[in-house]
Symmetry: C3
Subunit: 293 residues, 3 copies
C-alpha cells in the first residue's frame, strides 16, 4: 500500500510539473503582477499620460523574468515576445485593469477571496519558472552551478530585480534601495529555490525534480496566500536567516522594514566599533591615495 | 498611359528604396545628430574637459539606433562599429562641429537653408532604418510581430530612447522624464512607421515595401523640414491621437510641452476623481501588504 | 652575444606572456580589487546589512572586465562565472577581507610592502587581460579596429567603467561623474594599452605581442607601485596629454582632481568666450526649436 501511495504521489508530482501554464496560470500571473503595478504611486497617472509607457511597464511586470534570464544567457532580450498569444493576453489584462469602465475588472480581481486564488496560481508559475531557468542554464553550462543559481534567481524574482529601471521608465528614481540590497520575501524565496533546484540538478538532493517543484510550489503558495490574507510582514525565513548570518557574518540580517532605508541601524553593524572607526579613517586616507592611483 | 505612370512611379520607388545611404545621406544624418548634441546644455564644456566622453556621446547620437537594435536582437552591441569608414566619417563630423577653427563648420551647417536640406536627408536615413529594422527582425522572428515593431521603433528613434544614459555619460541625470514617457515627434513617428512597416511585412497593407518607404520618407521629410523652418511645436498627430486616446483610454494624451513635466495636469487624468481617491487609499493599504508579501 | 641576449629576452617575454594567471596573479587581483571595494564609503555597512549585495559587488570588482567584454562581444555576460574555482577563490577573498575575525586578513594585505607586491601582480593580470581582449575582438572582427580598442579598454578598466551601476547596487548614486568623464590613471592606461595592442595586432608596431605585453606590464606595474607607495596624484601621462589636447582640442585636459567635479574651471574651456556666449544663446533658441521638432 505504501508503495502504491508513493507511486501515486510521484505520478501526481510528475503530472503537476508537466501541466501547461498557459492560459490559466499565466493569466493569474499577469493579473496579480499588473495589480501590483497599479498599486505603485503614480502608475495610474502614467497610464493616462502615456499609455505606451504604462503598457511597457506592464510587460516588464509580466515578462521581466524572461527578459532578465535571456540577458543572462546571452539571448535576445525580447525573445519571449514572439509568443503573440501571451503578449495579447497580458495586454488585455493591462487594458482591463487600467481602463475597464467603472473599474469593474479591478474590483473583481482585487476582491480578497479571488485575489488569494490568483496569488496561489501565480506561485505555481513562479516555481515552474525557477525550475525551468535552472534547467536552461544547465543545458548551456553543464557545470556552471553559479550560473544556474543566478538564472533561477532572476526567473523567480522577475521585474523586482530591475525595479530601479522599471521605475525610471515611469519617471521615478529611488537609488537608495534595490531588491538585492533589501530583498523582499518573493526575491529571497526565489534565491533559495534556485539554490535548491541547482542542488537537485547536481544530483545532490535525494528528491526528483517534479517532487521538488511540487514541494516548493506548495511552500510558496501557502506562504504567499497566508501573507496576503493577513497583510503580514513576517518572513518565514527570519529565524533561520538571523542564525546563519550571525554564524557566518557576525551580525543579524537587517530587518525587512521600510524604516531600514532611513535608519541603517549602526547598532546592528559592527562587532567592534573601535575597529570600524580605525578602518574608516584608514579608509579615508586610502581612498585619497586610491584616487591618485 | 496610367499603367506607364504607375510603372514609372513603382520604378522610382524601387530605385529610391535601394539607393545607397553612404556617404551622402549618412553624412547628413551625422551632421544633424551631432548638431543636436552640441545644443545640449554642457555638451561643449564636456568636449573640452573630456574629448573621449564627448566623442562617445557623438557616436551614440550617430549610431544609437544600430546599438539598440543589436541589443534587441541579441547581437553584439558594437557590431556596427566594424564599419570603419562610417566611424571615421562620424568622428570627422564630430571634430569639425566641436573643434573647427573659428567654428566655421558649425556656422555653415547651422545656416537655415543648409540645415533644412540636411534635415530632409536625415529623414531619408531614418525611414530606411525603420524598414531595415523591421526586415531584420522579420528574418529572425518570422511571426514575431511585436519584435518587428520594437526593432523598427528603436531603429527610428535612435539615441532618444537611451537619452537618460547618454546624458549620464555627460554627467547629467534627469530621471523625471524619458522619451517613452514624453515622446517627441520623431520618436512617435518612428513608432507609427514601425507599425506600418510591420503591417506591410505581414502583407496586411496593399502597398509595396518600396512605395511605403517612399511615402513615409516624404511624410517625415516634409514634417521635419516644416517644423524646423517654423520652430513649430505642433505635432501632425495631435488631432488623431487625442481622438484615439479619448476612445481607448478615456482621456486625451498629455500635451507635448516641457511644462507637463512640472504640471502633470491632474485635470487630464481621472474620469471619476472619487474612484481614484478610493483606489489611492486602497492602493496605500495594498502597498503596505504587498511590501509584506 | 647580442643575438643570444635578444633570443633570451624574446624567450623570456614569450614565457612571461604564456604564464598562467591562476591562481597566484588572479589571487592578487582579487585581493587588491576587493580591498578597494572595502575602502568605498558604506561598503562595510552594506556587507553587514546585505551580504548578497556585498558579495555581488565584490564579484563585479573581480570579474567586471569579463562581464563588460562579454556584453561588448554579444556573449552571455555571466559566461566567465562557469569557472567555479575562480569564483570560489574570489568569494573566499571577499569573505576573509570583510568577515575575518579580528580583521586579520585585511591587516595583512593592507600592510604596505605586501600591498605593493599585490598591486604589481595585479598589473600583470590587467595587461594580460587587455591583450586577450584585443585578441578575442580580432578573432570576432578581423578588421574591427575600434571594436578591438573598445574590448581591450573594457578588459583593462573593469568595474571602473560601470562604477555608477556598481554603486547603485550598494544604494549609492553619483551621476555627476563617471570613469569616462573623469578618467583615473588605470582607465587611461587601459585605453592607451588597448590602442597599442590593436596597433600591434594590425602589424603596425615593430614589436612582437609577447614583448609588448612584457613592456606594458613593466610600465603599469612600476607606475602603480610608485603611485601606491607615494600616495601620489600625478599621472605619467599629464605632460603628453596636455600637449596633444592643446594641439587637437585647443585646450589642456581638465586636471584629475576631485575639485574639478565642483569647479568645472571655465578658464580651461573656451578659446573665445564671446563665441561661446553666442553659441549658448543660439543653442538655447535651437533647443527650443529642437524640442518642437
Amino acid at each position: 500500500m505504501d508503495v502504491l501511495d508513493v507511486l501515486n504521489l510521484g505520478e501526481i508530482a510528475q503530472y503537476f510539473s508537466k501541466m501547461a501554464m498557459f492560459p490559466v496560470f499565466d493569466l493569474a500571473y499577469y493579473i496579480v503582477s499588473i495589480l501590483y503595478l497599479k498599486y505603485e504611486p503614480g502608475a495610474v497617472e502614467v497610464s493616462r499620460r502615456s499609455p505606451v509607457a504604462s503598457w511597457l511597464c506592464a510587460m516588464l511586470y509580466c515578462f521581466g523574468s524572461y527578459i532578465l534570464a535571456d540577458i543572462i544567457l546571452g539571448v535576445s532580450p525580447v525573445d519571449y515576445f514572439h509568443n503573440n498569444s501571451h503578449i495579447l493576453l497580458a495586454s488585455a489584462v493591462w487594458y482591463l485593469i487600467f481602463f475597464c469602465p467603472l473599474n469593474l475588472f479591478y474590483k473583481c480581481v482585487a476582491f480578497l477571496p479571488v485575489k488569494l486564488v490568483l496569488v496561489a496560481l501565480k506561485e505555481v508559475v513562479r516555481s515552474r519558472k525557477i525550475a525551468a531557468g535552472v534547467h536552461h542554464a544547465h543545458h548551456a553550462y553543464h557545470h556552471g552551478w553559479l550560473i544556474m543559481v543566478i538564472t533561477g534567481y532572476v526567473k523567480g524574482s522577475g521585474v523586482a530585480l530591475m525595479s530601479n529601471f522599471e521605475q525610471l521608465l515611469r519617471g521615478v528614481w529611488k537609488p537608495e534601495t534595490n531588491e538585492v540590497l533589501n530583498m523582499s520575501f518573493p526575491t529571497k524565496a526565489s534565491l533559495y529555490g534556485a539554490i535548491l533546484f541547482t542542488l537537485q540538478e547536481a544530483n545532490l538532493l535525494p528528491v526528483s525534480k517534479s517532487m521538488l517543484i511540487c514541494l516548493f510550489t506548495l511552500f510558496m503558495a501557502t506562504s504567499k496566500v497566508f501573507m496576503t490574507a493577513r497583510h503580514s510582514h513576517g518572513s518565514p525565513f527570519a529565524l533561520i536567516e538571523s542564525w546563519v548570518c550571525h554564524l557566518l557574518f557576525g551580525s543579524p540580517l537587517g530587518i525587512e522594514d521600510a524604516h531600514d532605508h532611513h535608519h541603517p541601524a549602526p547598532a546592528a553593524a559592527p562587532l567592534s566599533p573601535a575597529k570600524t572607526k580605525e578602518e574608516l579613517s584608514e579608509g579615508t586616507r586610502k581612498r585619497k591615495s586610491k584616487k591618485a592611483e
